[in-house]
Structure formats: C-alpha cells, structure tokens
Symmetry: C2
Subunit: 340 residues, 2 copies
C-alpha cells in the first residue's frame, strides 16, 4: 500500500489522522483540500510531503481556470519547516510552461525517486549499523513516524529498522510516542506490527533515560531539514534523544533523503521552527488533559546540533559527522544528481 | 486546602486522579483502601506519601481486630521507589507499643513537619535562585507535580516557584505535562492557575529543546529518593531535563525534604525503578493512543546523576553539588534533627 499516489486523475492518500483506528483513503481533486490535508497532518513525513507538493502542482496544472501561481504558493507555505514540500512543489511547477502532462510526469518522477530513495536509505542505514555495532543484535530506538507512511513506501529511519529486521539483525525496536500528535504511538507501532517487527512503545521522556540504562544500542531518526553544517530539524524530542545518546555513548543516526539536505541554510540557527496550535498540547485525541484556559508552547520541531549526530544517511551516501565529514564537501558527483 | 489530613478519626484526601475536572475528597477508614489509593496515585508526591503512610499506620492501630503488622507491610510496599512512604510508616509504627493515641500523635507530627518543611524549602530555594540568577527575572521549568498536592501544603519544587512569584521575582513557569499520567498537565497547571502564577504547558520532549533555546533560566524538580552521592530518582523526564540544562548552562535544582535523602543508598545504581503497568503508555485518560495489543515499557521514574545537579535544596540546607559539597558530610547537626 502506498501512503500517497496519483490514481485516475486525482491524489489518493491514507488519512493518517484516522490511524490506527481506521484505515481511510482520501481522494483529493483540488489544491485547497490538499493544503488542508497537509496542515492537519493527514499526510506528513518529509518524503511524502515532497510527493504531495509535486502532485498538488499537477492538480493545479490540470485545471486551467484555477489561479496556478496562487495554488503553488499555498502549497509551498502549508508546512514551513519541511523543505521537501517546497522542493516537490518547485520541481513540478518548473515544468508548467510545458503543459499539464509535463507537470504530472515530473510529479510522478518525484514519487518514483522517493520510493527508490527509501529502499536505498534502508540498505545504507543497515550497512552502517553493522559497521557501528558489529555482530551485536540491534535494539533501535526511534521517534515520530518515519516509515512507509512518512514516505511513499518503506520510509527513512524506519526503513533501516525494517531492513535490519529482514536481515535478522534486529532484536527489537523502541518507539517514542511523540507527543503532542502521537505519530509514534499511532503510526509507528501500527507499521511495525504490520511488518512483524518486535517493538515496544515508550513515553517520550523515557527514551533518554532508557538510553542511559543501555536499553538500546542505536538511535535512528528522520529529518525535516538538514542545514549545511549538519544541524538537523526534526520532530520535537529528537534533540533530547540525541543528547542522551551522546551521554550514553550510543550512535545517533539521521536517515533522510538528499532532498532534505538544505545547503542554502548554513546552520540550525537559520531554521524557522513551526509553532503549532498550543491547544494540541492541552488535549490528546480530543480529550482535554489540562484545565480549561491553560496556555501552552508548542514547538513542533527541534534542532539537533551536528556535534550530537554520528552520521547522516541518505539514499546516496553516509556522511560520518562524527569523523568530521561534511555534507557540502563530501557529496560525490553532486552535479550528476537527478535530484538537485 | 490540605491535600491529605486526619479528620474525625479518618484520612481525608483529594483524589488527584479526578483533577483537574473534579475536586473530590475521599474519606478513607481502612488500610486496604488506602493502599489502593496510593497505588492508583489518588495520593502521590514524596511528602504526601510520607504523611499517608504515617496516617495509615494510625488507621491500622485504631482497629485492634486488624492484623497490624500485615497492614504495615502492605503500606510500606505500596510504592517501592518512594522512600518517604516507608519512612512515614516506620515512624508511626515504631510507636505501636505505646498504643493507638501515640501512633496517631506521631503521624500528626509527620504531617506538621512536612508542612513546615514545605514552607522552608520554598524560602531556601528562592534564596538560591537569587544567588544563581542575580536580579534576572526567573523563568522556571519544572516536571511532574511538586506543589501542595504533592505535599500537604505548598510543596517542594513548586513551593520555590510560588515563593519566587510572591517575591515578584518570577516571570513565568513552564510546566512539562509529564506523560504517562500527566501530573504536570492536570495538577501543576491547576495549582499554578489557583495561585495566580503565570505559566504555560509544554510536552515533555519540548522541555530539553526549549532550554537549549534559552526559554528558561532555572529548572526545579522534586525527588522520590536521593542517594548518598546525590544521584536522584524522580519522575521520568527529570533526567533528560537535567541533561539539557547542563548542555544549556541552566542551573538544575532538586528540591525535596530531608526525608527523601537516603544515605543508606550509595548511588543511583542501587535505586530500584518502579516499572508500572505498560498500558498506561498506550492510552491517555482512558483513550487509546496505540493499536490494540501494543506492548510498552513504562519506567515511572528515572535517575539523574549527581554530576548533572547544581544543588539539592531541603528544608534545612542547600547542598551545592556543583561545588563538590556532599549530602553526607555537609549536613549540620544531623544528630539534633527530629526528622532522622
């Protein structure tokens, strides 16, 4: 099952806000509905957002009466932290002069590249785990959802977990629940159960402590944006996990497609953090958790400094930040890449 | 309003599982009901548990038909991590030979000492904040609930926040929600709102990140048990906050009564961590958050190494662990203490 796809002239996607209770497929035929779906996280995850953005432009291009430029801008702005969304939008929009068919063809290329990238990230990440851990069975801790639901198939960080499981190298996975929206509890456990991967759920603040007690020997996380110096924006909770991994001497690995690497952003200080509706913090799945009138701060993402990251794994390379390798200079054949 | 008290021959306590929706006072007349109330966290917080244990022994002593020793053991074992519970039980039980009135008198002394201790901790902690921060307005971050609800009146770490507010030194408080049981979201915000203290709620994993961004300049936390070397067991989430405070250069202060200091426990490695029902992780206030059948790990507490703690504040002293002061050797007049 693909999280998002182009089916008979429209976008079809699993509504991730309904998981794990119901598996509902949305059929989306206009950009405002897609923007709303992106904003309310019916589709989320960096690779999936790139595909959603590109397919959204294909939708806009297919209706000549619509204000194409307006729709492109609305799509681009739907999730400010996610560089992939803007990239997917821009790639498809660049073909607008060649007509709707060319835009759609480009959007489908974005989709197919994300699928291929996910499989490659899983393999490279699993190879790196072998390099870092030798023959030790892997207990992998992860945050948020970075599985097939966050991509189109397979995923990013969770693709590594799945690959390790299929190679019989995985002992088990530990999934942080990822408040406030519980992508770990709702989505990651659902995907791991479907894939038959042994796993247990933990509250977010148990992750750092369990690392300090040796409960896991690898941390894998995704990324929403990776700055040129390696500082990485990802779901809130990633920073505290990286800090604890460093304290415990556990490798901390970011797994994300090349499209997440943003060499135009120098460091984490330049990444805008999306502050979401503070009432997400004051309730859980519609149930209030705090007194009425309670105000909150809701940073949806955090920034993990490069110094806490062992390696960045993409579909094309492994950049060992812990060995002083850099994203900008070490990329081989950047000019030959079809993705940049 | 006192969280727990002895009223007309029985224990009365606020049922904290019903907050913030309803303020319900339980009247408890037998030990099994009290043990159940302790286990399901109707009463929680180190000082309050000490009082509950002592008053529970008074209940057991008042009924000569009961198996006194059996009840004492059951009370002692109701929460393994909380040293105060066992201490309160032991103090009251030691007077059993002198009859029920003597047991009750001792239990009421435990109560009155906890009240006096809470006020003293608030004052000492606020003085320390002035020492650490100078004239800067304080933004204090805290985890779990350490207010009057966790004690009898006033509290421990939250007593410091309240005291700073009353001294007009506090800018605002940031409360971590404290999954899985949400004591921060449900109880701390409720207490801060009643006290008129400006505050905002955050998800647990936002605490470390917001510290790294300079959003608070003081962290205060309570303790369930402090080992001789300063390692401190407290609600899960405390460790990751201490680690981030160190990373950000923010003072991290433990505020707890002397009865929490356990010189018989050498270090954090000797503290048993209570693993609670894993299904607490898979739901929030009765609403499932994970697929049916999901297993979890639920360490209710963590251990913060002494090296990450700036100071321990009790009702009698401030121990600057960051300056090499030790809990064991620096305590003045230990032999004159009525509490040990």
């Amino acid at each position: 099952v693909r999280t998002i796809d182009w089916v008979d002239g429209a976008i079809e996607m699993i509504d991730q806000t309904r998981l794990p209770d119901d598996v509902v497929t949305l059929r989306i035929t206009d950009v405002p509905t897609l923007v709303d779906a992106i904003r309310r996280l019916a589709v989320r995850g960096a690779p999936a957002l790139g595909v959603a953005g590109a397919l959204g432009v294909a939708l806009a291009a297919s209706d000549l009466r619509d204000d194409f430029e307006h729709h492109v801008r609305a799509l681009r702005a739907a999730r400010p932290t996610a560089v992939n969304l803007a990239r997917g939008v821009d790639r498809a929009a660049a073909r607008a002069g060649d007509g709707p068919a060319a835009v759609l063809a480009e959007a489908l290329r974005v989709r197919d590249e994300e699928i291929a990238a996910s499989w490659a990230m899983g393999r490279r990440g699993a190879d790196l785990a072998d390099e870092l851990l030798g023959a030790r069975p892997v207990v992998a801790m992860t945050v948020c959802n970075t599985g097939g639901l966050a991509a189109v198939e397979r995923g990013t960080a969770l693709a590594v977990v799945t690959e390790l499981h299929e190679r019989r190298r995985l002992s088990s996975a530990l999934a942080m629940e990822t408040r406030p929206l519980l992508q770990g509890a709702r989505l990651t456990t659902w995907e791991l159960a479907r894939a038959g991967v042994p796993h247990r759920l933990i509250v977010d603040s148990a992750g750092p402590f369990l690392l300090s007690r040796g409960a896991a020997n690898l941390v894998v996380a995704g990324a929403d944006r990776i700055a040129a110096n390696g500082d990485t924006a990802n779901k809130i909770g990633t920073f505290s996990l990286a800090l604890a991994a460093r304290y415990a001497g556990v490798p901390f690995v970011i797994v994300a497609p090349e499209s997440t690497v943003d060499l135009g952003t120098a460091s984490g200080a330049d990444i805008a953090i999306e502050d979401r509706d503070d009432q997400e913090v004051c309730s859980v799945r519609g149930v209030r958790t705090a007194p009425a009138g309670t105000a909150a701060i809701n940073p949806a993402f955090d920034v993990t400094p490069a110094e806490l990251i062992t390696a960045v794994v993409t579909e094309r390379r492994v950049v060992r930040l812990d060995r002083g390798e850099r994203l900008a200079v070490s990329r081989p054949h950047a000019e030959a890449s079809p993705r940049r």
